[in-house]
């Protein structure tokens, strides 16, 4: 039957694409349980030694913590700025506002190396090299386009008469934004904040350009680990991150259905 052949052909294709996407991620899991001192599959048995190294090493834990709090700050700052920007643009909704919205997205189009070089040149002048503030600022700028895309998508679904109704009923403009607009676009803001956190958490190019010794984020320590020796701890870290991501995703999807 031709239809069934076609069906098999396409479903095989789908599974192959899926495997291509997922297998490289899954391969770190057995590697992280290796009993050898180098990156490779387990030889004589499974071992948790690399997880132990990770949990006992102040360098790794510190880097993890640094990436976390930088990520949270970046998510917070870029979500606030991005949301304010979107609401302003939405209210104006004229030609200039549309142009501003497109300009905001440009950072996504610029190659990260070029952008990082720009940050480097500018941060030297500002004295922000090798400071947490410098990294947070750079990451906020990198995350802003993602926040604006996500928040603006939520805003386009909002009836323009809703803020009008709020003001007609006696709410000032700030009150309208806080009590009516923000609750309506909250899903967009949360998605934007998650995007921003992710952008910051695994950003490496900018960090390599902007930091020397004082700021150690997780991607940078992983990078250093690969440079110095091929340490299976990296696989352990990667496995933990995959597990956390999986957990958050499943939790998030379940929350949405309820």
């Amino acid at each position: 039957m031709p239809r069934s052949t076609l069906h098999i052909f396409f479903s095989t294709g789908c599974w192959m694409v899926l495997a291509f996407l997922v297998l490289p991620i899954l391969v770190v899991i057995p590697v992280s349980f290796t009993d050898t001192a180098f990156i490779g599959l387990p030889r004589d048995g499974l071992s948790l030694q690399h997880y132990e190294t990770f949990l006992r090493s102040p360098k790794w834990l510190q880097a993890c913590l640094t990436s976390m709090w930088i990520g949270v700050l970046v998510a917070g700052i870029s979500t606030i700025l991005g949301t304010l920007f979107c609401i302003g643009v939405w209210f104006l909704s004229d030609r200039a506002a549309t142009i501003a919205r497109w300009v905001m997205i440009v950072p996504i189009l610029v190659p990260p190396v070029v952008q990082s070089l720009g940050f480097y040149k500018f941060w030297v002048v500002l004295g922000l090299i090798d400071t947490h503030v410098g990294v947070i600022l750079a990451h906020t700028l990198l995350a802003l386009p993602y926040v604006t895309i996500s928040v603006f998508a939520a805003l386009t679904n909002l009836d323009r008469r809703i803020p009008q109704a709020a003001r007609n009923l006696g709410a000032s403009l700030p009150m309208t934004i806080l009590t009516v607009i923000m609750p309506s676009i909250r899903p967009g803001m949360i998605a934007g904040a998650l995007f921003a956190f992710t952008v910051s958490f695994d950003e490496i190019v900018g960090v390599l350009f902007l930091t020397v010794r004082r700021v150690e984020t997780l991607p940078k320590v992983i990078w250093d680990g690969i440079q110095e020796s091929i340490d299976p701890v990296i696989a352990a870290v990667a496995t933990i991150l995959v597990a956390i991501t999986l957990f958050v995703t499943v939790f998030g999807l379940r929350g949405r259905k309820i």
Partner: protein, 356 residues
């Protein structure tokens, strides 16, 4: 007019070269049910938005109880509005929606809850306080929007085509309710619609707008019986237009000469007419008779049966199409297509209007 609650003076609003409002002036009496009626693009919603404060007029001014409010932000005007599509806050329950104006006015919780209960009762939605807006039907949402607008006891209620999204039967029921609510509360209603039936059935006064300017204003019966121009005559109900010569007689009365027939006019024409004019004649005032009985002869082209009455389209050599509306229950002769008939009307049916 004694002490208008709102007055609009020489309001102009332009978008590029388009004049959405063209020198509009009107006074709104306290407690009246005023309808702004016009086709889409006539400027009626623009005028309402300007009164509500959502857009600023290019020139002219708006006053409330004598004080100028042209540049006052909407939240300072205390005019409640019921929006087309209702604009209920999607993240709030029905009770929170209705209580919103009270919350922004910092009314204490207990008092607010009491007032919300009262308002929901007013629109017969008491059992729905904890629902979300998306769980309600269109008619129910409309009632909640009304309750929300009335909760802070505004002087003026602005309604922007509030019934347009509802089906015909529900719309008719809500028309009666709105009118009853208006009479009970004594709040000034400013109602925007493109539906002439809505305008006629509820309003104390109707203002007909077209192309951004006021065409005519008055009580529904006055507008229907004495339209001033072709636009009003054809927008509010249907009209036949026949060319006529208006003449002043020696005894001071006026006559309209249509073909060979002469009709005496009951009053001096309101509009400035120099000789050539036009008569607007309502279809239900044209009589259909046997050949030779009435003044004009024609041939029936088409008939449309509507139950309580039927519409007959007659071709006349000089006037073109003449529409006649005839009650069916006592029709003297059953009209049929291609029938040669005569028709006519009496003097009272003639409304002289400007040829525009």
């Amino acid at each position: 007019m004694p002490n208008p609650i709102i007055s609009v003076r020489n309001a102009v609003k332009t978008y590029g070269k388009v004049r959405a409002l063209d020198n509009v002036a009107l006074d709104i009496r306290e407690g009246e049910f005023l309808t702004l009626l016009g086709p889409s693009g006539s400027g009626k919603t623009t005028l309402l938005s300007a009164i509500a404060g959502f857009l600023s007029v290019t020139s002219g001014s708006i006053h409330a109880r004598g004080a100028e409010i042209t540049h006052l932000p909407p939240e300072k005007r205390d005019f409640a509005m019921v929006f087309q599509g209702y604009a209920l806050f999607p993240t709030m329950t029905v009770a929170e929606n209705v209580g919103y104006p009270l919350r922004v006015r910092k009314m204490p919780n207990a008092e607010r809850a009491e007032r919300v209960r009262e308002c929901l009762e007013l629109v017969q939605m008491s059992g729905f306080a904890d629902r979300m807006p998306h769980q309600l039907s269109g008619g129910q949402q409309q009632r909640i929007a009304l309750a929300r607008a009335l909760s802070f006891k505004p002087d003026v209620l602005l309604l922007d085509e509030p019934l347009s999204a509802l089906d015909k039967k529900l719309r008719a029921d809500l028309q009666w309710e709105l009118k009853a609510l208006h009479d009970r509360l004594g709040v000034t209603f400013i109602y925007v619609t493109h539906d002439q039936d809505e305008a006629m059935s509820m309003s104390d006064r109707v203002i007909i707008l077209s192309d951004g300017s006021v065409q005519q204003e008055g009580a529904p019966a006055e507008l229907y019986n004495r339209p001033r121009n072709k636009f009003v005559a054809s927008f509010l109900g249907k009209s036949n237009f026949v060319p006529a010569q208006i003449r002043k007689q020696a005894n001071g009365t006026y006559t309209a000469q249509v073909a060979q027939e002469s009709f005496e006019l009951s009053a001096e024409p309101e509009v400035n007419i120099d000789g050539k004019a036009c008569l607007a004649i309502r279809p239900e005032r044209v009589r259909l008779g046997l050949p030779g009985l009435e003044c004009f002869a024609g041939r029936i082209r088409q008939i449309s049966y509507l139950g309580e009455r039927c519409l007959v389209l007659v071709d006349h050599e000089e006037f073109g199409e003449i529409l006649i509306s005839q009650t069916t229950w006592n029709a003297s002769l059953p009209p049929e297509p291609n029938m040669e008939i005569s028709f006519g009307w009496d003097c009272k049916a003639c409304v002289p209007i400007a040829e525009n």
